[in-house]
Symmetry: D2
Subunit: 335 residues, 4 copies
């Protein structure tokens, strides 16, 4: 019973079918194929705005390319101390941007605090040029910024002439949590570049970089080629993204994951276990004493320790395919 | 009837089946899964030598990472003027190496000439540090270096302290053309880093970087993370590579492609059409007058003009799934 | 009366004379001249150890090159939050290292705290590879690490396999403050690469990168060329460094600056003004109420506000040529 | 008697005096000083156009920064095969641009041939984005492009949307050779970024980057900081450049060097020695048989072999301070 990561699951049948279907007919390589041709219109429809999507092979690549599109090599990117880009990507942001600086800011529950953000921007005078704010939605602590919280952050950004990047590794989870539209959670807020996560929520090897302006799209196009992210058989990435969006599969998947997490969180609370952060997406961070942790693992539950949120905290991830029985079993085991 | 590229085809059923099979069971992400765990042993077996393989998402990424592993940022990489790395990769080699220089050398049929190579190495005194020779096997002109031709190049490299990189985008095609073993065509020759091409010959989205020494493997591991090439669901790349090697599928595929190309080349010669380069792998470069080119395209044949080999030259690519009937039809149309 | 920076002064007559003397005779360019040839032996003598010095044109270049020599592009450099490399160099460390990460650590009086340093190193698992500790001696707060404080930091570094860089922008000020030898404050401690500051203390345009091992020297040599830091008339930089060391000019200059600062600090304390950090080198950081600040500026005293050490703190810098009368006047004005 | 390089000489008395004068008065660092403040107006006057000059410490830095200002990291820079940027700078252009490609083009006497240039630009489709043409004036072969020759090159650039960089390491030598104005040889032609060489012709450690548009100036300002090229005591570079321009010292120096070279060239021709390129600036490239070469060296003449222009060619450089007697002696020795 595996609660380690959203990445432990593969993909729903619809995504695999889409790959198989594309496999039937030879076509032009490097994205000059009918499936890829349908992507920009489809994303423009989903986002209710001119949108350009670039299928890439990993979330780190999506973050690197989208950050680089809005940050010069001497730029400073402000992000939360727990952001994936600053904690988990092995200097990839520096690689893709050509040497920009990440500057970590504090805030409760992995959310940037606008006042602290603004203070940091003001203090940044000679370290590099304040250029970009990167927000993660949903956050690494399983919380979800409310739209007005994001607006407050974007306000800080705009006041200081900064661009806004959103790491949407769990964008769908945030969407269904907020009950808002993709447009509400992106360009309408002022997001300039979006890492459109899909792998954690139902594709195999496809993520997207999404931008809403033609000039940024041209920049991303150059950077994607140079970074070895133009897949020769791009249609197999495109097909995954297309199937992911079709019939609101992505939202259904995210809803399933979020529901499982909420049920798990409630069950743990009922069992007297504290949570280190509220459950607003598909992640649960309970405080679990060492003895209980060992006992759970002995019974076959897999999960990671998460000291970033406290010495006794573990991370439980629910995915689109987490069985209800696993959630029940985990709650029962904690009682 | 599409002769544009090896990348127009998808994958054989065995590869798709392998993906579907891996999709059935949740497992650890980021390559900590049983399929990926089998890869290094499998490659070591295939190459009859300690080998480390890193699944990546594109040939450009494979080239960039493997070049970077053997070239410092101030290094000079010597390659043929027609090499993919110098003609087609949008400055990706510079990106991955952190700014190394590519220096193009001439030679007949897209093959490096050892004497000219050595002359160029000697002339390179202040441009950067001569560091690496990159050979493409099979070449961009559809020719295949004989083993002793490669040995002569490696000799030059060794005399000047250079590392050897092989762009093996069509490694399998070269193998079956030469009838030698993977070991013969790599470490036994002195190849330090190999871009192990697979996509053109039967995978969907998986290429490999292969190195034969632990220190290089550690370096590649760091670079791969930083380049966003650690797939979170790496098992789906690994499964493709595993299926590609299983039951000598890769060799069978390459043989089919080479055979089709040879038959096509012979048919064209018999039809009185000259070839700009001998057919030794799966590419055919006939000289086709403009009128005939137009006529062929009007009849539904797709192919690219290839002025790099002469003003009237076109490129015809046979893949593992090119139908014999298409080859026959093209020959007939040329008569 | 200017207390803004050590860089407001030019150079002592001996340095200018050395430049003029070198100007008399044509000689080979790019460092192949007799003055530059004398530098490595001279530095080896001063440091009582095989030493390699590379004259460069700025402290930022010295830091960038020396950090890059000991840090891979995916490396993490740990430094104090107030370190010049992380606060003041416009992403130059990222540029020179090819994208390494700087990670700021806290500690009192701009000194790294070994325990916090170790905690940060341990927490750095996926952000990048912990590679380097950078210490600034004397610090940006005008304090000087005691030798055993540095030893404790180097111990942490060694336990975790990290290299040690010292930003010695005010190396001479630290030396005379501690009364130890250049060897004591560098290789004997375990410093791998030293930014040998000279401009602040008496040269015009010459700083040095100093390393103590031949392999590092070769690496720096490559990087220096590539960074445009091989001056065609390098002898004019070399002559400055030679004159700076001759007759212990550097130590005399640093002593003068430190003495002035100490006297200034004592005078301010006697005048009832608090200091935000102890005066151990040539910098004084008094807490000065806004009204007094304005009054001092109105009387012609120039200095910078220094909010990094507290809202009401200003920075007073004494240089090798600060007139005693200016110090007296400032103390008097504060009374 | 040293004919190795223009860099064997130091500076005229006026330049040294300017340094000494600046040394007398403490002032603000990092270019916030009165001397530096005078530079932009002075260059704007000299160039008869809004101009921004950035004093830097080497010609390689000047080239790197100015190329980077007009070339994206995926851009291709077209230059002559003998250009300093492609032959002599240890991958610095790649370093400063973040990985752009240099593409060498042929042409007689180190001059780009517009037709070949255009052909190369057209052939560059996937290697990177054609971005920049770099011309060297005067060239590495001692020739000087006529203004209409440069116009033809700029025409090619403009037709293909490329920017124009001029490596003016010997800009003054070209100016006096052509008898035209700085404006004629730069922005009036369409030069976007100029490496304004000064060290070879009379400064000690100061070169300039000159651009003619505010947006480029802002870009250069960021890049210069990041590259460690903001000298803390910048006034000592600025003073060199100011003195270099004052009273047309730069033109007088260049005229002296060119005259010496012309006299030397004529003397050699009269002595029956062939020249590999016409003498149009301060460089002479005679074909000298090995025996004569040895004899000359035995008599104390110093010069470099220059095989790039032919197996028996040597390079003789006249500088602003080359004694007439040395020229006479060399001619006599060749007779």
């Amino acid at each position: 019973m595996n609660f380690r990561s959203d990445n432990i699951f593969g993909c729903p049948a619809a995504v695999l079918d889409a790959i198989a279907r594309v496999n039937e007919t030879p076509t032009h390589p490097y994205g000059n194929d009918p499936v890829t041709a349908r992507l920009n219109p489809r994303y423009s429809e989903v986002f209710e705005h001119e949108a350009y999507v670039f299928p890439v092979s990993s979330g780190t690549a999506a973050n690197g390319l989208s950050l680089a599109a809005v940050t010069p090599p001497w730029g400073v990117v402000f992000c939360h101390r727990l952001a994936h880009i600053v904690r988990d990507e092995w200097c990839a942001p520096e690689f893709f941007t050509g040497g920009a600086r990440l500057l970590a800011v504090e805030g409760p529950d992995a959310r940037l605090d606008p006042a602290r953000l603004e203070a940091q921007v003001r203090l940044t005078t000679h370290a590099g040029r304040p250029s970009t704010v990167s927000v993660t939605e949903a956050t690494e602590a399983g919380t979800v910024y409310a739209l007005d919280e994001l607006r407050a952050i974007v306000d800080v950004a705009r006041r200081h002439g900064l661009q806004v990047h959103m790491d949407g590794a769990r964008f769908a989870n945030a969407l269904v949590s907020l009950g808002c539209s993709p447009a509400d959670l992106s360009w309408r807020l002022g997001v300039d570049a979006l890492s459109f996560g899909a792998t954690k929520n139902g594709t195999l090897t496809a993520e997207g970089v999404v931008v809403f302006r033609k000039d940024l799209a041209e920049d991303v196009a150059h950077r994607r080629k140079r970074a070895g992210q133009v897949s020769s058989k791009m249609r197999f990435l495109s097909a995954q993204l297309e199937a992911y969006l079709a019939d609101d599969l992505w939202l259904a998947n995210a809803r399933a994951a979020n529901d499982a997490a909420r049920r798990l969180g409630e069950g743990l609370l009922a069992a007297g276990i504290e949570l280190a952060a509220p459950v607003q997406a598909n992640l649960v961070f309970p405080r679990v004493p060492a003895a209980l942790r060992d006992a759970l693992r002995a019974r076959g539950f897999e999960f990671l320790d998460w000291p970033a949120l406290g010495g006794d905290v573990v991370r439980l991830v629910c995915g689109f395919a987490t069985p209800a029985s696993h959630v029940d079993a985990l709650i029962a085991a904690c009682r």
